[in-house]
């Protein structure tokens, strides 16, 4: 006993499940069946009972609902709602049928709960084995009080991370899994599959990716515009916003607070208000066209949202109005973090403004803000507000489900909310993700702030 593995990685621990099963004593093995048994036997009463209570609850849940939920998952329900004429009462009576959507949701929920339970089971077994080893070697077994104290020091990450992670699991990951599964069904208004639907495998993907199907052709053109949009929107916002921030941050610029306030104030106006107002201003009979006509610069209204090229440039320019203040806010805090000595020594060495910008400011900013840039890029690919509120995707060719300024995300919204093609919407969501994932992971892994987090310390 007491044999320690050589530390291969930083976090390797001798208390693995493998060791617990192989070398653990009877009590530890009993913990595989009755969670917490090992802890209780070695004096960690509270911890042990907590494990046990969780296990009992899980088993109760599975017998009451869980098993039924899992059983329904492969078929997604077969019983349609039925209408039966009741002779006595003289009315139609309805017999509730299966609702595939709920079956799918509860199925996914049950699977997730099971996965969580397995993780806890592993944790309890390891904890039981650890208690056994410690008691055999005569070391101190931490009491419940010690465990609580550790939460504020060595195990602070558990204390701080648990609530946010629970939130993420419940409100981000779980819904996501649910929607991903939807991509493999025929849940859409097509052929009336809104209540009862089935698994269809990869059929939806084939449809979206094909060059011959009208949905497929729309997909490729929307994808191309989405990428062009994201590159322009991100790059221009970042560069122009940073230049603005540097100009305001200059030593000689007066009224720094006032300038910053002027720009940042536009964030205080909710996006949908400012965007809707701009939309009314840019209409054929809106304020901008009226003014230009009154001055005599134009005879016919400018086609802000009716000509493809005009519409595309308009949304990119207006996005600058939205985005630059955000870059300004983000960048200002970090600009002030650049150690002043760097600038002073550069100035002593005779560097000019451009040298300082390219040799000190830009590398530092890129180092700190690369994750922010990537997030901006993905944010722009998913920039629903600007497109939907401004152009609503118009101009839209007749008979198409997507307009010329529609991004994948607004198209997704139109397909699901307006047209109820939930399965195609889910596929497009997955495709959006795939595109972003490839770009992001490759760039992110190659950035300084990921490889060397302390580079600028």
């Amino acid at each position: 006993m007491g044999k320690r593995k050589k530390r291969v990685n930083e976090f390797a621990s001798p208390y693995t499940i493998g060791n617990a099963v192989k070398k653990g004593d009877l009590i530890t093995k009993l913990s595989m069946l009755f969670m917490g048994a090992g802890n209780i036997a070695h004096g960690q009463i509270v911890k042990g009972f907590l494990f046990l209570i969780i296990e009992i609850n899980y088993i109760l849940f599975m017998f009451q609902n869980g098993l039924h939920n899992l059983e329904m998952l492969p078929s997604l329900g077969t019983q349609a709602q039925q209408e039966i004429w009741n002779e006595k009462k003289g009315i139609y009576e309805y017999i509730a049928g299966d609702n595939s959507l709920l079956i799918l949701l509860y199925g996914v929920l049950t699977l997730s709960i099971t996965a969580g339970f397995v993780l806890l089971w592993v944790a309890s077994l390891r904890s039981a084995y650890k208690a056994e080893v410690l008691s055999k070697t005569g070391k101190h077994i931490s009491s419940f009080k010690d465990d609580i104290k550790d939460l504020f020091n060595q195990n602070l990450h558990i204390l701080l991370m648990t609530p946010p992670v629970m939130g993420i699991l419940l409100f981000t990951i779980l819904p996501l899994i649910f929607m991903i599964t939807m991509a493999f069904t025929n849940y859409s208004k097509y052929d009336d599959h809104l209540v009862l639907f089935d698994w269809v495998g990869l059929a939806n993907f084939a449809k979206v990716l094909s060059f011959h199907d009208s949905i497929g052709q729309t997909f490729w053109s929307v994808l191309a515009w989405t990428i062009i949009w994201a590159i322009f929107a991100t790059g221009l916002n970042y560069v122009l916003g940073m230049i603005l921030a540097i100009v305001i941050n200059r030593k000689d610029t007066k009224l720094k607070g006032l300038w910053r306030f002027c720009f940042v104030l536009s964030i205080a106006i909710p996006q949908f208000v400012s965007l809707l107002i701009m939309r009314t201003m840019l209409q054929p009979e809106g304020a901008v066209n009226t003014m230009l006509k009154n001055i005599g610069l134009i005879d016919t209204a400018l086609p802000f949202f009716t000509n493809t090229m005009w519409a595309r440039v308009t949304v990119i320019v207006i996005n600058l109005w939205i985005g630059i203040p955000y870059t300004l806010m983000q960048v200002t805090g970090i600009l002030q973090n650049i150690p002043g000595e760097l600038y002073e020594s550069a100035r002593v060495d005779g560097a000019n403004v451009f040298d300082i910008f390219f040799k000190i400011t830009l590398p530092y900013m890129l180092f700190v803000t690369t994750p922010y840039l990537i997030m901006q890029f993905t944010g722009n690919v998913n920039n629903f507000n600007v497109i939907y509120l401004l152009s609503q995707g118009h101009p839209t060719p007749v008979g198409s489900t997507a307009g010329k300024t529609d991004l994948l995300i607004t198209w997704l919204y139109k397909l699901t909310i307006d047209q109820q093609y939930f399965n195609l919407g889910a596929v497009i969501g997955i495709m959006t993700f795939t595109v972003l994932a490839i770009i992001a992971i490759v760039t992110y892994r190659n950035t300084g702030s990921y490889k060397d987090e302390e580079g600028f310390q």
Binding site: E10, L102, Y106, L109, F152, N153, Q154, L156, H157, L160, M161, P163, P164, I168, F171, T172, L174, P175, L176, F178, M179, V247, D252, T253, G257, W259, C262, L265, S266, A268, I269, P270, Q271, F272, V273, S274, T280, M281, Q283, G286, A287, W321, P325, M329, T332, G333, I334, Q336, V368, Y372, M375, T378, N382, F384, I409, L412, T416, T432, E454, Q457
Partner: protein
């Protein structure tokens, strides 16, 4: 300033640059403030309707504001305002805590799940948020939060639940705080929790302000999630949803100027918040470690 002769032209050049910079900033500020100015003008406009032929209104009135707060039978704006304020305050507190906690763990604590978590978070952020919108609604419904007053709780959870993912910016900031400070505190016997609350947080005002502002604004500007969660329960509408409603076809002619008035009203609390918090940007981190 080696030779005295060059001193004057250099100073003149600096003066010209400064003048140029300030003129540019002024022009840009006007562009940025123009739509805001226009909303304010419209909110005092006497004529109804969404289009008009002149830039400045012909008549001015405060009736739009009075209408907004007194005509509560069709669209109850005061109630929407209260709803949103409650939701925004709660969700901003929860989100800020989530974001700071996760960022600190990612920046300073070393543990097994750290790198995997960062990768997972990055991956999750790549999924479009609406994709799971309908699923979120059904989950809230299963939790019994989709009816009555619980809708407020549902919205708070929707806006703050997944906030822990948005840690990248704050983490980047924490990374720039010198570790010497933490080490000094550990030598004095501080626990990690104390370092977090007594050193990292007080030094992070700019990023905390940033987090608070962005999370506070979310409920005011989101109408998509609110629309899915609230459905037809007009009693629990948020401001964004109400304003959105005012621009629908059946309301727009009567409510367009009231919409502008409403926009002005909801921008005020947020603008005040900006004024209060502006000063945190100016000093920032400079002077955290001297010598």
């Amino acid at each position: 300033m080696m030779k005295k002769k060059e001193a004057v032209p250099v100073r003149a050049r600096i003066a010209i640059t400064n003048f140029f910079v300030h003129v540019c900033l002024a022009v840009l500020s006007v562009i940025w403030l123009f739509p805001i100015f226009w909303v304010i003008l419209t909110s005092f406009r006497g004529e109804k309707g969404s289009y008009m032929s002149t830039f400045f209104p012909k008549t001015y009135t405060v009736n739009n504001y009075i209408k907004l707060f007194t005509e509560t039978s069709v669209l109850n704006f005061p109630r929407m305002f209260t709803n949103t304020l409650i939701i925004a305050v709660c969700s901003c507190i929860i989100s800020t805590f989530f974001v700071l906690a996760v960022s600190y763990c990612m920046s300073r604590l070393k543990f097994r799940a750290r790198k995997p978590f960062m990768n997972v978070a990055l991956v999750l952020k790549l999924f479009p948020a609406f994709m799971s919108m309908i699923a979120v609604y059904y989950i809230l419904k299963a939790m019994g939060l989709s009816e009555g007053a619980m809708i407020r709780v549902a919205l708070i959870l929707v806006y703050s639940g997944g906030a822990g993912i948005e840690f990248y910016i704050a983490k980047g900031f924490f990374d720039t705080i010198p570790k010497v400070l933490d080490e000094a505190a550990f030598l004095d016997g501080a626990t990690k929790f104390q370092v977090f609350t007594k050193i990292t947080v007080p030094l992070s005002k700019p990023i905390i302000v940033y987090t608070i502002i962005t999370t506070f604004i979310a409920p005011w500007v989101d109408f998509i999630f609110a629309r899915v969660i609230c459905r037809a329960n007009a009693d629990y509408y948020t401001v964004a949803l109400g304003l959105w409603k005012m621009l629908e076809k059946e309301y727009i002619d009567n409510w367009y100027t009231a919409f502008a008035a409403g926009s002005v009203c909801i921008s005020i609390p947020i603008a005040i918040l900006f004024v209060i918090t502006q000063r945190f940007y100016s000093s920032g981190m400079s002077g955290a470690v001297k010598g």
